[in-house]
């Protein structure tokens, strides 16, 4: 028997099925004639003309009918040919025939389920072998490429659903396969982005309840991997050694408020360009985080944000909180909280407080309180009463701790205590004015034992980061809230020996996780809900002259709709024009809490140290 001749009157489907069945049975016996021809037809993929397409479709359909005769051992080459096909290489006819075959195979025999699922998952991305890869990357930028992508991916996902209908346990296998097949961080951006798109589509789809948590957890793992890969220190150190950095520092420092936008922008923009251009990893992370944000937003719109958030929160505690140099991944949590301040926002803060108060691992406790402080300071949507409540818990813990402790400064032994004190001061730097504007909260603030903990023999004022202490003391003096010692030895320094000691190797003394996000695309999602120091500081500046009005502070933190105007006067929109980037840089620059007249030595001192995490100081690191 040979391949049905195309000129002869057509065979019926069942006859074709019979042909193939007989061929398969014959192949087991050793007679491979028709079987080999069949395999050859399936392998043929280059430049198919119409008749070849028709032949391929017919063969696939015939094999679908003969599925019960396929033997995994004897028909290995046929199966290899089938599973080696990529939907991206063919038109919709072949795609349809192929996916039907896959469903048939998966449902006929348990041995093929994994293979079919794997093939479908591999088809999340176009073929990545070198000649084809660049072709597809280019194609996807054109409209017909996007049409192709829709054709392929719609079929892939509907086939996964069909298989799940017939083989109910397949989602269990699928989640493992999706996790294992996830591209590593060195894959081209276009591919990894597409894979993650598909993962999130699965999470949001019918099988979401079954595979969702594995998918979200794997995604966060991958984000953190990318995050820690971003070479932060190298780039900054490089600039510093060139000396150019130093000059710009002066520009930022002395004349931060009097700079003409043009000259400054060039240098800062150039720095950011240099940072981002070579940094593929940062761009990948940026794109993936934007995908994640969009997905979270759609979850919020369909009402399942809380469930998704719980999974993200668990993942946060396991991987992000414990990661050594997490730079941007935590903004996923920030964004999710901003969409639902009542539930998610409070859940996040409560978890952090619990870890600080009753956790077991000291490093994680310090990390948690640093996250809490940065979050409460920067999240516009957190109501001030809640901030007060959280502060209360932290201060209370610190008070109970130091009540039972005698002795003098010892940064290493009491590092958790110092972390708590620093966190309190940091939050108050941002929120004090707001808090004392509300009488009830002002009295709550005064009832907290802040004077007791800060005035304790353990001397947290001398151990915590000097720049923060300084700013805090200045505010306290201006607002006449507490009575605390005013003289302070490390005036003008960003960090001190003591702060380094308590911060330890991980530099928890300079860990402010929610400092401005420097990933450009992500920043647009974060910005409306974010508090820049410049927004808060300007309200304090006016104290030097006239009194401030409470409205200024409200403006800084206000905007229930989340769209507040930062005080550099720009009416913000999400346009992709240059002014957006410029404002971005400009307002970063204003985010400083160091005093204006810093000495040169302290600057050198600062940058020789090269912290592992950006701090709320002059912008270059915060770039």
């Amino acid at each position: 028997m040979g391949v049905p001749d195309m000129d002869e009157p057509s065979f019926t489907d069942s006859e074709l099925d019979n042909h193939v069945k007989n061929a398969l049975r014959a192949a087991i016996q050793g007679d491979n004639g028709f079987y080999n021809q069949l395999v050859a037809v399936i392998h043929h993929k280059e430049r198919l003309v119409a008749e070849e397409v028709a032949l391929l479709v017919t063969c696939l359909k015939a094999v679908t009918g003969a599925v019960s005769c396929i033997n995994i051992v004897h028909h290995g080459t046929l199966l290899a040919a089938i599973f080696g096909m990529s939907l991206w290489n063919y038109g919709t006819d072949v795609m349809d025939a192929l996916v039907e075959l896959l469903v048939s195979l998966a449902s006929s025999n348990g041995e093929y389920v994994d293979l079919c699922l794997e093939m479908l998952v591999v088809n999340f991305m176009p073929p990545s072998a070198p000649p084809a890869a660049s072709y597809f990357v280019e194609l996807l930028k054109q409209p017909r490429g996007l049409a192709k992508k829709t054709q392929v991916l719609d079929r892939v996902h509907s086939t996964l659903k069909d298989i799940a209908n017939v083989v109910p346990l397949s989602p269990l296998r699928l989640e493992k396969i999706v996790r294992d097949r996830m591209p590593n961080i060195y894959t081209k951006e276009a591919f990894i982005v597409m894979y993650v798109e598909n993962m999130l589509r699965l999470e949001g789809g019918a099988m979401g309840e079954l595979v969702g948590s594995t998918i979200l957890v794997s995604l966060v793992d991958r984000l953190i991997e990318l995050d820690v890969e971003i070479a932060w220190d190298e780039i900054l150190q490089d600039d510093f050694h060139k000396g150019m950095f130093d000059m710009e520092l002066e520009d930022f420092e002395g004349h931060a408020d009097h700079i003409e936008p043009d000259s400054n922008e060039l240098t800062r923009e150039a720095l950011i360009q240099r940072f981002f251009c070579g940094n593929l990893v940062a761009e990948k992370l940026d794109s993936l985080m934007v995908l994640t944000f969009e997905h979270i937003k759609s979850c919020s719109e369909s009402g399942r944000l809380v469930q998704v958030f719980e999974i993200l929160l668990q993942s946060f505690q396991k991987t992000i909180l414990t990661a050594y140099k997490a730079k941007f991944t935590q903004f996923v949590m920030f964004y999710a909280c901003s969409l639902d301040p009542e539930n998610c926002g409070k859940m996040f803060a409560n978890v952090l407080v619990n870890i600080f108060v009753s956790g077991l691992n000291p490093e994680w406790r310090m990390s948690a309180v640093a996250y809490l402080a940065s979050y409460l300071a920067r999240a516009k949507f957190v109501p001030i009463s809640f901030v007060a409540a959280m502060l209360d818990s932290v201060v209370n813990w610190c008070f109970l701790y130091c009540k039972n402790v005698d002795g003098d400064i010892n940064p290493k032994s009491h590092k958790v205590f110092y972390a708590g004190c620093q966190a309190t001061m940091y939050v108050l730097c941002f929120r004090m004015r707001q808090m004392i504007a509300v009488p009830r909260l002002k009295s709550q603030l005064l009832l907290m034992r802040i004077e007791d903990i800060l005035g304790h023999p353990l001397k947290p004022l001398q151990v915590c980061l000097p720049s923060i202490v300084e700013e805090f003391l200045r505010l306290v003096k201006v607002n006449r809230v507490f009575s605390l010692p005013q003289s302070f030895p490390d005036y003008g320094l960003l960090e001190s020996e003591h702060s380094r000691a308590f911060g330890g190797m991980e530099r928890f003394d300079m860990f402010f996780p929610f400092d401005p996000c420097l990933l450009r695309k992500c920043d647009r999602y974060i910005r409306p809900n974010y508090v820049y120091w410049s927004m808060v500081r300007s309200t304090y500046d006016e104290d030097d002259g006239e009194g401030t009005s409470d409205e200024d502070v409200a403006e800084a933190y206000g905007g229930e709709n989340g769209m507040s105007i930062p005080d550099d006067g720009s009416g913000r929109s999400y346009d992709e024009d240059n002014s957006d980037a410029d404002e971005f840089d400009y307002s970063l620059d204003k985010m400083s809490i160091t005093p204006r007249d810093s000495r040169f030595e302290s600057r050198i001192h600062r940058f020789v140290q090269m912290p592992s995490k950006i701090r709320p100081s002059t912008s270059p690191e915060s770039l």
Partner: protein, 234 residues
């Protein structure tokens, strides 16, 4: 259902020391890792468990990680289809070459056309595919029907059953029971199939099994018919 059985098991669950505070949860999660997997020891797929912790004392194992072993008795629901057993499942897909059904909501069953009794003819009625018996026009198998079939083999890894409709007393359960002159309350055609969740079939399966024994002469006639050669499907 024949393949279901309940057994009592004496188990020891070894827990990591970090679980000492919440040992109940740890035991339950350890037991749940057994679910939907075939176990040689128990000779079946564990579908459900009901633990009963006997004592509050546990033996600590010597070693680097001092795991402690908690003894408990558990009642387990096991699923173990063996060849020639009769099982029931809901049909989810029909093709000219096969019927696919789902048993107990988690196990997929596949019946190839060689194993479908020749009397059944594949037809397309009003856009839906259906198998109709030539001898009894009312005996239909379509998507949603509860199908009774014989087990040919069982793949323990993926929990996949290969079945056949050749034997006696196989086919649409509803029709088979009606045919025995007794009204079946299995409402199969409107049931929506759920994927991935283990849902038990209704307990009236037990009742149906008993009825099967009292088969009518009509069914015996089916057995006597010889296997015809497959005709062309139109």
């Amino acid at each position: 259902m024949e393949a279901l059985k309940e057994s009592e098991a004496d188990l020891v669950v070894y827990l990591h020391p970090s679980n000492a505070k919440c040992s109940n949860d740890a035991i339950l999660s350890s037991l749940s890792s057994l679910l939907f997997t075939y176990s040689e020891t128990f000779e079946g797929v564990v579908l459900a468990y009901d633990p009963n912790i006997c004592s509050k004392l546990a033996k600590i194992l010597p070693g680097i990680h001092p795991y402690f072993g908690v003894k408990l008795k558990a009642r387990l629901l096991l699923f173990n289809p063996t060849p020639n057993m009769l099982l029931e499942g809901e049909v989810v897909k029909i093709t000219p070459q096969s019927i696919h059904a789902v048993v107990l909501g988690f196990s997929s069953a596949f019946i190839a056309d060689e194993d479908i009794w020749d009397d059944f003819k594949h037809k397309i009625k009003r856009g839906k595919e259906v198998y109709v018996s030539r001898s009894h026009k009312k005996h239909k198998i379509e998507v949603g029907t509860i199908l009774r079939f014989a087990v040919k083999s069982f793949d323990e890894e993926i929990l996949h059953i290969s079945g056949s409709l050749v034997a006696d007393h196989t086919g649409s359960s509803q029709w088979l029971d009606k045919n025995l002159n007794e009204w079946s309350q299995a409402d199969s055609t409107t049931k929506k199939r759920k994927s991935g969740e283990g849902e038990a079939e209704k307990p009236e399966d037990g009742r149906l099994m008993m009825k099967r024994e009292t088969s009518s002469p009509k069914n015996d006639k089916q057995a006597k018919k010889s296997k015809k050669r497959r005709k062309e499907h139109s």
